[in-house]
């Protein structure tokens, strides 16, 4: 186990270094820069700015400098939001995205798995058709349409919830549902098909023949075996929803992190682009590691080993 974790750690550092390097190269390859404006600024002022942010140095020096700062945990200053640091932006905005993401994730897992199980038990009957009907809608309706519809009815027409902004639990409901739509539907379908596979196995019939109660067969024997594909999907899903969504944050005016993933590229805000890429990579890698650990808990046949033998 220890050998396994050490190896994973090494892989993680390697992966992050590769991510930084590739992002750095691509980012500087796109034309334009952080201080290019429609209103051109005088050359001397531009020189002042570039000197201040060390953009006047050769690229390889900027790269080495940046790597050094990352090792020290400093992601640098934002070029667009002057006075703010990338660490500051993440510290301020990640908690918002985290709250919303966690709620979204919980809805997707609970409702998705629940609906999938019910659909598989009642295969070919009404609950199955209903689940499949709604999950088809969930998969095909994008979050911004779902969000706009929710806002129109729940807020504009019926006045039940505040239309947008952040701060109280009431503000979380609509964006969480809008975000959860697709993953819930996907998990429901995943659970259903995986459950159907398991339910048709011989040992299910054995359990039934042995006289075990139906709920015990389903919950202890079937679900535990059927859950593995959902766990595989849950890792990247959690990483995705925790770091915020540009579109949903935009519609509901949520001060989360998702906006910066997109606007930093428009702004050529180099440090923010890199900082967020690193941040996202770390979350993704850590969650994938947790997924691997979760496998061993669910299925004892899976073992984590440090070296292939």
């Amino acid at each position: 186990m220890l050998a396994y974790l050490t190896k994973r750690m090494f892989h993680t550092i390697l992966a992050i270094w590769i991510v930084i390097t590739i992002t750095f190269i691509f980012m500087h390859a796109i034309p334009g820069g952080p201080f290019q404006r429609e209103k051109a600024i005088p050359a001397t002022i531009k020189a002042n700015i570039e000197a201040r942010y060390k953009l006047d140095q050769p690229l390889y020096l900027q790269y080495v400098d940046y790597l050094g700062n990352v090792v020290r945990g400093d992601l640098g200053p934002s070029f667009k939001y002057r006075g703010q640091t990338v660490n500051g932006i993440i510290a301020e905005r990640f908690p918002v995205s985290f709250q919303l993401g966690l709620l979204t994730f919980t809805i997707a897992i609970v409702v998705g798995i629940g609906a999938g199980i019910i659909a598989s038990i009642y295969q070919g009957r009404l609950p199955d058709y209903l689940t499949m009907f709604f999950s088809t809608i969930g998969i095909s309706v994008p979050s911004f349409i779902l969000g706009t519809l929710l806002m129109y009815f729940l807020s504009f027409r019926w006045g039940l919830l505040p239309a947008a902004m952040w701060g109280t639990p009431k503000h979380m409901i609509m964006p969480a549902i809008a975000l959860a739509g697709l993953p819930t539907a996907f998990i429901a379908r995943l659970t259903r098909s995986s459950m159907l596979d398991v339910l048709n196995q011989d040992y299910m019939r054995t359990a039934l023949a042995k006289g075990l109660p139906r709920w015990q067969i389903i919950w202890i024997h079937a679900v535990k075996n059927a859950i593995i594909p959902v766990i595989t999907y849950a890792g990247p899903l959690l990483a995705y929803v925790l770091t915020g969504s540009f579109i949903v944050e935009n519609i509901f005016a949520i001060p989360g992190l998702g906006k910066h993933f997109v606007t930093s590229i428009y702004n050529r805000d180099y440090t923010v682009i890199l900082g967020l890429t690193i941040f996202y990579s770390i979350i993704l890698i850590v969650l994938n590691m947790l997924v691997d650990l979760a496998y061993t808990l669910v299925d004892p046949r899976i073992k984590l080993i440090g070296k292939e033998e």
Binding site: Q36, I49, M165, I251
Partner: protein, 540 residues
């Protein structure tokens, strides 16, 4: 002793004002014991501020926020003209070069500390510090020695702004600058509270606790996409401030903004989604303000066939601008037949634009004739030209309409459209690697100069690569003229030369559509600045 008296006076008058409103908001706490009685207004400023440091910021949303919490020597009135603000009087020397400002008695910051002429001197020099690297440092280049200091060739001591005593500020300009008093209202000229900057030079403006202003309001909180302001009881004109509380939200999505306006969660929007305008016009809450800017196409005059003046004129005359503003943009924009928009008053009281008139009209026949003179009768043999715009649905629709008009009116078949992402597009424009490019320009201060000086040969904003010796000479000369009548005459001459050469094709003058609840009164919107809530109130 005198200061103390004034302080007390200010305090009592502020106290009187608040008791007059029947609220307890002078503590600035969110204690809603008497809800419904407070006069609260919510405005959506439309985005997170890029920075709250007035010297570093460049955008209109930031300017609008700062307008509520800061004040310069002057403040713009509804005609965009400067009224004396922190300055009680100003004395201008015979040669129009030396400005001596007397500050009002007993000026204090929002935290009660005295505000002196030295604060102005230090603040302006800070703006120019090359280490600070402020984008808008050039707004101060009118001051003697300013440009030299900012470009590293001079020192801060050479900058000719000096606090003669606590209340007297003397400024010596490089050249007569008739709009200098307007510039004094601009955010780069705001005084800043030095102790806050000394304590944390980078981050002092990131939190409501350390933002110390001197304007009609003071910021009490800034979190989760929302700012909260209460009247600044230390403001010298606190009596004029009526609102009890002011909120600024930062909703970027225009549809969400409109929904929140319609559900009553915000009272004033920062813009309106274009397609909704015809419907909203019937509500009576839609206001279309003129904006001091022009939407235009740049011709890259070094690229054939655009190097031919007749081609440029033909293309310009063949565009039906009325059709564009009524069918496409729909935001009350005005068709542009010149470059400088209206809004600038001249000495005779007339508007600069009215005096200058239109330079051309929509005239397809004339356009055809010009194109024939250029050697392309009926569009025959006209080479492929490309219109470049930054990726946006609106720019695309306009470009498509113009493509069609050139085809219909001139017989030009091969016009292609290219869109690029914003940063790439700016880069392409700078490098001159285009034929025709969409552009927009918003004036910085209320003077034709802010539209005309950009077209100097090799100027940083001169993307058309236009070059005219007479134009360059006039630009240099006009800087030295201090007779306003003669100066404006020269501005008209400049625009005459420019429009005769037609290196750009004006399309329309920008407007700013906003939704404002009918119970919101007393606000002020000047063409070159954001909406001012100093004297706003609510009357339900």
């Amino acid at each position: 002793m005198k200061k103390l008296t004034v302080l007390l006076l200010v305090f009592f008058s502020a106290a009187l004002l608040f008791s007059g409103c029947g609220t307890d908001s002078e503590t600035g706490e969110t204690d809603d014991t008497t809800p419904g009685e407070e006069m609260v207004l919510t405005y959506n400023v439309g985005t997170e501020p890029e920075t709250m440091d007035p010297h570093l910021s460049t955008g209109l949303p930031e300017a609008t926020i700062m307008l509520q919490i800061y004040e310069g020597l002057t403040r713009l009135n509804e005609n965009s003209l400067p009224d004396l603000a922190l300055a009680e009087s100003v004395e201008i020397s015979e040669d129009d070069l030396v400005y001596t400002f007397q500050l009002r008695d007993g000026l204090v910051w929002s935290n009660g500390e005295p505000l002196t002429a030295e604060d102005f001197e230090l603040s302006w020099k800070r703006s120019l510090d090359p280490e600070l690297a402020a984008d808008y440092a050039y707004m101060l280049y009118y001051i003697g020695g300013a440009e030299a200091y900012n470009s590293g060739e001079g020192t801060a001591d050479d900058v000719m702004v000096e606090a003669l005593d606590d209340k007297t500020l003397q400024v010596t300009l490089e050249a007569p600058t008739p709009f200098f008093l307007s510039l004094c209202a601009f955010k780069t000229y705001y005084p800043l509270y030095q102790p806050a900057i000394e304590a944390d030079a980078e981050g002092w403006h990131l939190s409501a606790d350390t933002i110390i202003g001197n304007g009609p309001f003071k910021m009490v909180s800034w979190a989760q996409g929302k700012m909260e302001f209460v009247p600044n009881e230390n403001y010298y004109d606190a009596d004029a401030v009526i609102l009890d509380r002011l909120f600024f939200t930062m909703i970027e999505n225009e549809s969400t903004e409109l929904t929140m306006f319609e559900t009553g969660e915000i009272d004033v929007t920062h813009t309106v989604p274009g397609p909704e305008i015809p419907r909203l016009q019937e509500t009576g809450e839609l206001y279309i303000f003129p904006e001091f800017g022009t939407y235009y196409y740049i011709f890259q005059v070094e690229k054939p066939p655009l190097d031919d003046i007749n081609v440029r004129k033909a293309l310009t005359l063949a565009i039906d601008r009325e059709a564009i503003v009524t069918n496409i943009t729909q935001g009350g924009q005005l068709p542009a037949y010149a470059f400088v928009p209206s809004g600038i008053p001249e000495v005779d009281g007339m508007d600069f634009r009215a005096n200058g008139g239109d330079y051309f009209a929509y005239d397809p026949e004339m356009a055809q004739q010009l194109l024939a003179e250029a050697g392309y009768p009926g569009g025959e043999g006209f080479p492929t030209v490309e219109i470049l715009y930054n990726t946006s649905e609106m720019h695309k629709l306009i470009a498509e309409a113009i493509q069609e008009m050139w085809k219909q009116n001139l017989g030009i078949e091969n016009v292609t459209l290219t869109n690029q992402e914003w940063g790439v597009y700016l880069n392409t424009r700078d490098e001159g690697d285009f034929m025709i490019a969409r552009a927009g320009w918003i004036g910085d201060y209320l003077d034709p100069f802010t539209f005309l000086d950009m077209w100097v040969t090799d100027g940083g904003n001169n993307n058309s690569r236009f070059s005219n010796a007479d134009y360059d000479r006039l630009l240099t000369e006009v800087r030295m003229v201090d007779d306003e009548v003669q100066r404006m005459e020269m501005m008209h001459q400049l625009e005459d030369i420019f429009m005769e050469e037609m290196p750009i094709c004006p399309i329309y003058y920008y407007t700013l559509p906003m939704m404002i609840k009918d119970y919101v009164k007393g606000y002020m919107k000047a063409a070159v600045s954001g909406i001012d809530f100093k004297t706003a109130y609510i009357e339900k």
